[in-house]
């Protein structure tokens, strides 16, 4: 799957995250988080897992997280991915 259009999902609320997707030639994952020091590696792992499942190999994925749990990360990223495809097909 290819990220062909800019798309976003999520909010800035506590325990949530915002996901921004943009087309790019390589895969770049940028993570900003209020709990970056403790959890950046786990957030990254989750992001990579979801991207892997959808076969995303290129694109810029920017995350700003406020302590979201795994399932929230997964849900927000999947929503953003779906929007990126849907908008590109439209």
């Amino acid at each position: 799957m290819k990220i062909a259009r800019r798309a976003q999902a999520g909010t800035m609320q506590s325990s949530d995250l915002q996901v921004f997707l943009e087309p790019a030639d390589t895969l770049n994952i940028e993570i900003e988080s209020t709990v970056k020091k403790q959890f950046e590696h786990l957030i990254r792992q989750k992001i990579e897992e979801v991207l892997g499942r959808h076969g995303v190999t290129a694109g810029t994925i920017r995350i700003t997280d406020r302590g979201a749990l795994d399932y929230a990360i997964e849900a927000r990223l999947e929503t953003a991915l779906r929007r990126a495809i849907k908008e590109s097909e439209a």
Partner: protein, 338 residues
């Protein structure tokens, strides 16, 4: 729920909330949004381009989640409009509330804190990492509207005093010559100088974020604060990344804005270990060479004067078909100062 405020009645209520919070209500914005509770407006905020402003929350409701809700919506709208990174100026006492939302402080000034959301500065620096050279480097920040023999002289003199000279060309497109052209002419006009590197300044030096007044004609807005924020950002983030130890500027006999800016350099940059070096401007006839003079000459279609003030590369562009449009625009009514 966050809604766009569009009716006169909503505007009026927004204005009350904003001014009640000690902020100025400005009419220019792309979105004005608010949150209502039982028909009372309890939170308001606006976006203009990549700037968030006029964010005010009813005092009794400030401890809750309204700020996050409001700012999420402004960012959503701003991202949809094509922006990647967002800026906010806020009182130092409010900076922590924005930091909790993943805004990163770029500059702490006693009167204001500039924060960014979206990591734009990091991306800007990363994109230019391949240009970083070790050594005692220098910098000039120039608009070059257009590139003249005066710029050439300043850059040549500065380059002689440092290992690498970074020439930051103002990215903002508010001058008679568009950014792409200004950038290209600086590149062409300095191509023979081996230790000169030309790059764009993005939002991070003399931009509508850091120094909006620069682009206005008779400005007397919060001048000092803007210049100090702009220079602090340079000193704190750009200078260490590029190993810049000296910033060069020309003596300025005419433009008050530029003169005050040079004075602010001497005040602010030493805090960041950057020395300000002021170089004597190049003269031609009775006056210093300036881009302003070039534009005046173009306005009068005095091409012989232009020829004496600009290098061959700039002249070639001005006389080309591509330059024709700008020439015609200048001989019209375009009289921007920078």
């Amino acid at each position: 729920m966050v809604v766009e405020l569009i009716s006169h009645r909503d505007f009026h209520r927004a204005r009350e909330l904003v001014t009640g919070g000690g902020l100025l209500f400005e009419e220019n914005f792309a979105n004005l949004v608010g949150i209502f509770e039982e028909d009372a407006l309890v939170a308001v905020g606006a976006r203009e381009g990549n700037i968030l402003k006029m964010i005010a929350i009813e005092p009794s409701r400030q401890s809750g989640a309204l700020l996050g809700e409001l700012v999420s919506e402004l960012i959503r709208l701003g991202y949809e409009a094509g922006n990647d990174s967002f800026f906010i100026f806020t009182g130092p006492q409010n900076a922590a509330s924005f930091q909790a939302l993943n805004f990163i402080p770029l500059v702490h000034h006693p009167k204001t804190t500039l924060l960014e959301y979206g990591g734009g500065l990091g991306r800007y620096l990363e994109a230019h990492r391949s240009l970083v050279r070790e050594g005692e480097n220098g910098a000039v920040v120039v608009n070059c509207n257009p590139f003249t023999l005066g710029h050439r002289y300043l850059i040549e003199e500065a380059a002689r005093r440092v290992d690498t000279l970074y020439v930051f060309v103002v990215r903002e497109d508010r001058s008679s010559f568009p950014f792409e052209i200004r950038f290209r002419l600086v590149r062409e006009g300095t191509a023979d100088l081996a230790n000169v590197t030309v790059l764009e300044s993005s939002a991070y030096a003399v931009s509508h974020i850091t120094f909006p007044t620069y682009f206005l004609k008779d400005a007397d807005s919060p001048f000092d604060i803007q210049m100090e924020v702009d220079l602090s950002l340079f000193g704190r983030h750009l200078a260490p990344f590029f190993h810049i130890r000296r910033r060069f500027t020309g003596t300025e006999p005419y433009c008050r804005t530029t003169r005050l800016y040079s004075e602010a350099m001497k005040r602010i940059l030493p805090r960041y270990g950057v020395e300000t070096v002021q170089l004597e401007r190049r003269w031609e006839g009775e006056e210093v060479v300036s881009a302003f003079r070039v534009r005046e000459a173009l306005r009068k279609e005095a091409h012989e004067t232009v020829r004496r003030l600009v290098p061959p590369s700039t002249l070639r562009f001005i006389l080309s078909d591509e330059g024709k449009e700008i020439r015609e625009r200048l001989s019209g009514s375009d009289r921007r100062r920078h």
